[in-house]
Symmetry: C2
Subunit: 344 residues, 2 copies
């Protein structure tokens, strides 16, 4: 039996190659190259972990079905994920992604927005394939899941953008969790798992239980990602370290800091979060980072993540615990430890 990390890497790589092939096959051969399909294909080739397709396919197979039934949905999830990344990077003013410049940093904002739109449009193709693969009735149920996923993602993004736009500073961990449930968990964990379980069980799985597991898993994933943005290395992380602070992003650590600082420190922080990226100097970013150490914001987020992962273990048992002990069920179970202990 392989060790935990090797098992997870092998499983992800097994899913990734199938998804990458299917994605590549779905790209148009003609059409505009330099301003659309070349940058789009290059972006897709950058190594992602394919965690979303893997969760979808694992949840499907854990219920005894085959990967083929979930593959079109998994491909659509991967395309939509990449569409969101490109638009998010424009919206956040991010400069690097997966070890390279973001799409808009390389090709300008106009082309980047349109490439993002193009990726979302390409996702319609595998979803249409579902009619043949799953039949009309199940296809319609899957489409309804995708509709919810997309609505929630856009709403979550709107909440976060609104916080920055209006410089909202009275945020609690509950506000943060509600935002992350919509912005990150919906398309990263909850709906990949729901769609996989729906297809794999042919509609018999209790999707509310799946949602709970996805929520804890996804929130743990996002907070870990945000912690790595503060404490990781660019080489492993693929994005600029401290970029979230430069962007004024409301992470759990920032929410914690807002609730614990007082007096001039808090005034400085509120002022720092206001305005635009270009207004935040390196010195100011380092001061906020140091404040987080003083006030224990990093430790707080690490403990919060630990509590989420414990909830995820219990939710996993309820959602998938009674299924046969397969490598797919093992992948879902070990995903919890994987997302919180990863160093990239």
């Amino acid at each position: 039996m392989t060790t935990g990390t090797a098992f997870m890497s092998d499983y992800l790589e097994g899913v990734r190659s199938g998804v990458v092939d299917a994605v590549a096959a779905s790209l148009p051969k003609g059409g505009p190259r330099s301003s659309l399909y070349d940058p789009l294909a290059e972006f897709l080739k950058r190594a992602g972990k394919s965690i979303r397709p893997a969760l979808c396919i694992a949840a499907c197979r854990a219920h005894g079905s085959t990967a083929e039934h979930a593959l079109p949905s998994a491909v659509a999830l991967e395309l939509l994920h990449n569409a969101f990344l490109i638009h998010d990077d424009v919206e956040d003013g991010s400069v690097s992604r997966r070890g390279s410049p973001t799409m808009h940093a390389e090709h300008g904002v106009p082309i980047a927005i349109n490439v993002g739109d193009g990726l979302a449009v390409l996702a319609l193709q595998p979803l249409t394939q579902n009619i043949g693969v799953l039949g009309s009735a199940m296809h319609n149920r899957v489409m309804a899941e995708f509709g919810e996923l997309l609505r929630m993602t856009v709403e979550g993004q709107a909440i976060e953008l609104g916080w920055r736009h209006e410089n909202v500073v009275d945020l609690t961990s509950v506000d943060y969790l509600e935002m992350v449930a919509l912005k990150t968990c919906a398309y990263t964990t909850i709906y990949p798992l729901r769609i996989g379980a729906l297809i794999g069980s042919w509609g018999r799985a209790d999707l509310e239980l799946v949602t709970r597991f996805g929520l804890y898993l996804g929130a743990a994933f996002q907070i870990t990602d945000d912690l790595l943005n503060l404490t990781g290395t660019e080489e492993l992380y693929g994005k600029e370290i401290g970029g979230d602070l430069a962007e004024g992003k409301r992470t759990l650590m920032v929410a914690h800091l807002l609730s614990t600082t007082r007096g001039t420190d808090r005034e400085f922080l509120v002022d720092f979060l206001d305005g635009e990226r270009k207004d935040r100097s390196k010195d100011e970013i380092e001061r906020v980072r140091a404040m987080m150490d003083v006030h224990g914001s990093i430790t707080y987020a690490e403990r919060y993540t630990q509590a989420l992962s414990e909830q995820a273990v219990s939710a996993f048992d309820q959602a998938f615990g009674e299924l046969p002990d397969t490598s797919d069920r093992r992948f879902l179970s070990e995903a919890i430890e994987f997302v919180v202990s990863r160093n990239l």
Copy 2:
């Protein structure tokens, strides 16, 4: 019998009220307000002409079916149209739309991109309704039409953005027409008409003939729109006059000017088109505008539009000529004169 213009206005208004009601009913009651659904709803309320839903519903009813069968598709077309407008305005750096500031001018680029995404996501809802309204088989055919429409629109936008990004200056009227067929005609005329005819005839209409009519009608529409951008008044037009020149947009008039100017005039024009909006002074914009008069670019485009509208008349006869003489058929027929003679 009402006169041409009054008939068209009445027909459009009749469609518009039904579509506006259906769109309003589809908006979520909850969710983030100030950073998503409030600006989204405000944008939808700005008076558009609803030409796309009207063409869809008219093509459906001209074939003897009822508006109800085409209404969900018409609503989806209107929502997607608004999504495109918001993203296009960001990509083009446009400042006014329908007599008010563009979405990004009012709420910033990040929120504008996300509101555009939100409108596209809302369009999934009426498309899902089509399952109940049309049954699975016809719903699937309609979805395939929407898939093509979206792909073509994104590709057309990519071509135009690529021309600007790479400062392409060897453009002919054929290049222009190919771009407009994808960028404008697909979602403005071709697919609204195709989807309406498909549903109304329950799959019996020859959609290739419909496509030809839509192509000529849509190209005439776009060139007329671009002419109004040079010669109209802001009050009637709803966008800044000369804005296309400020944006460096490759219109038919610019393509004509590129092919007719020589020497220092051409060098100035090529240099003018390069770079960004902020680099183009008012004086330079006026010089290009004057060059168009000298070289007859406006007259050329007006004659080109006239030729397109004559082709549209002939294509209309082939596509819809044998259908009964209803107000719906009349609307489609008079749409040609309407789009080329409008002064708003």
